[in-house]
């Protein structure tokens, strides 16, 4: 790759915005991989729409991170010119699409969290984050509804769809603990009301997931062993492959536009 990575001055606010932006960009990119490959045309459109919503959210958050950082970086350099270890997204969102059931379950676990998260963030003391939250919440509410309806239909569908959905739930479960991750960098933001405590969302998330999985006749995993690391740049092997595709053009032809 020809273009070197940028350096980022990760103040707590910059880091906070980048973590959420990276979630949205990486999951949006994953959904874009379905374009032209979904099980049916209607779902091809639905997944692309959700992906576009997420990439739109990522842009706003990157722009805000750039403003908060106040250096030469902008939304494009955050997306295209950071290496794997500089990405701050959840491990959940970088997991490969797998089959349709896995993509849907991944979306459901994420949306069930982030919809409640954006709703809570609408009362952030940071006016820009509150505005982004208000816009994003309407989108995530639909993502949650769509993915939950599909989880129910796949789980309570045929033997084959049930088997695949259950496998996806079991395999992705260990990545759900990181949704509630917070660390020292968040402390000051929590104190002044910029951020909300993710623990305040846990009960709602758990009850939503329990209800939907029960309706879907899917077993909720008992394991409480959770994988983490994405928030501090320790990613699974999958993210590097994703970024090599996402970044190849800008790395090879810096500043290319069309």
């Amino acid at each position: 790759m020809a273009t070197p990575s940028i350096t980022v001055a990760e103040t707590p606010l910059v880091l906070y915005a980048l973590r959420r932006a990276d979630d949205a960009l990486i999951l949006g990119h994953r959904l874009s991989e379905w374009c032209g490959h979904a099980p049916m045309m209607e779902e091809d459109m639905a997944l692309a729409n959700i992906g576009l919503d997420l990439i739109g959210q990522a842009r706003e958050l990157y722009s805000y991170a750039a403003k908060a950082e106040g250096k030469a970086n902008d939304e494009d350099s955050f997306a295209y010119l950071r290496d794997v270890r500089q990405y701050r997204n959840l491990l959940l969102v970088e997991q490969p699409n797998g089959d349709f059931a896995r993509t849907i379950v991944r979306q459901f676990f994420y949306s069930a969290f982030v919809d409640a998260y954006w709703r809570a963030m609408m009362s952030s003391t940071d006016a820009m984050l509150a505005a982004i939250a208000a816009k994003s919440e309407k989108e995530s509410a639909y993502h949650l509804r769509h993915s939950a309806e599909w989880v129910i239909r796949l789980g309570d569908g045929t033997n084959e769809s049930h088997r695949r959905a259950q496998m996806a739930v079991d395999d992705l479960w260990a990545f759900t603990g990181e949704l509630f991750y917070a660390d020292d960098a968040d402390a000051a933001l929590l104190a002044d009301g910029t951020a909300i405590d993710p623990e305040s969302i846990r009960a709602g998330w758990t009850s939503m997931v329990t209800d939907v999985l029960a309706t879907a006749t899917l077993a909720q995993p008992k394991s409480d062993w959770m994988q983490k690391g994405g928030r501090v740049g320790s990613h699974s092997e999958h993210l590097g492959h994703l970024l090599s595709e996402l970044q190849s053009l800008q790395r090879s032809f810096p500043g290319a536009t069309w």
Partner: protein, 95 residues
């Protein structure tokens, strides 16, 4: 990919208050809930609508193209059914 078991639905969208729902196309979905979501995703993504109706395609009774002459031909010669023989006062404006 074929989807032999999936029901076909017709989609109607009302673009503004005061207008009628208008047929915009069809889609496949397993049930009414997913059909509504698919209609939203396929037909309203550019802000086309305020309201969506979906109807199972097999609930629609359609005229037979073979009956075209019997159904529609007789109306062709009856131009007096068009309200074009009246003078509309200017004060009425656009009708």
């Amino acid at each position: 990919m074929t989807t032999p078991n999936i029901q076909l639905w017709e989609v109607f969208i009302r673009s503004r208050n005061g207008l009628a729902h208008k047929h915009v196309g069809s889609l496949h979905a397993a049930d009414a809930t997913l059909a509504m979501q698919a209609a939203r995703d396929i037909y309203t993504r550019r802000g086309e609508g305020l309201s969506v109706w979906i109807v199972p395609s097999n609930a629609i009774v359609a005229s037979d193209p073979a009956d075209k002459d019997m159904m529609f031909e007789p109306a062709m010669s009856k131009i007096y059914r068009h309200p074009t023989f009246y003078d509309v006062p200017d004060e009425v404006g656009h009708m």
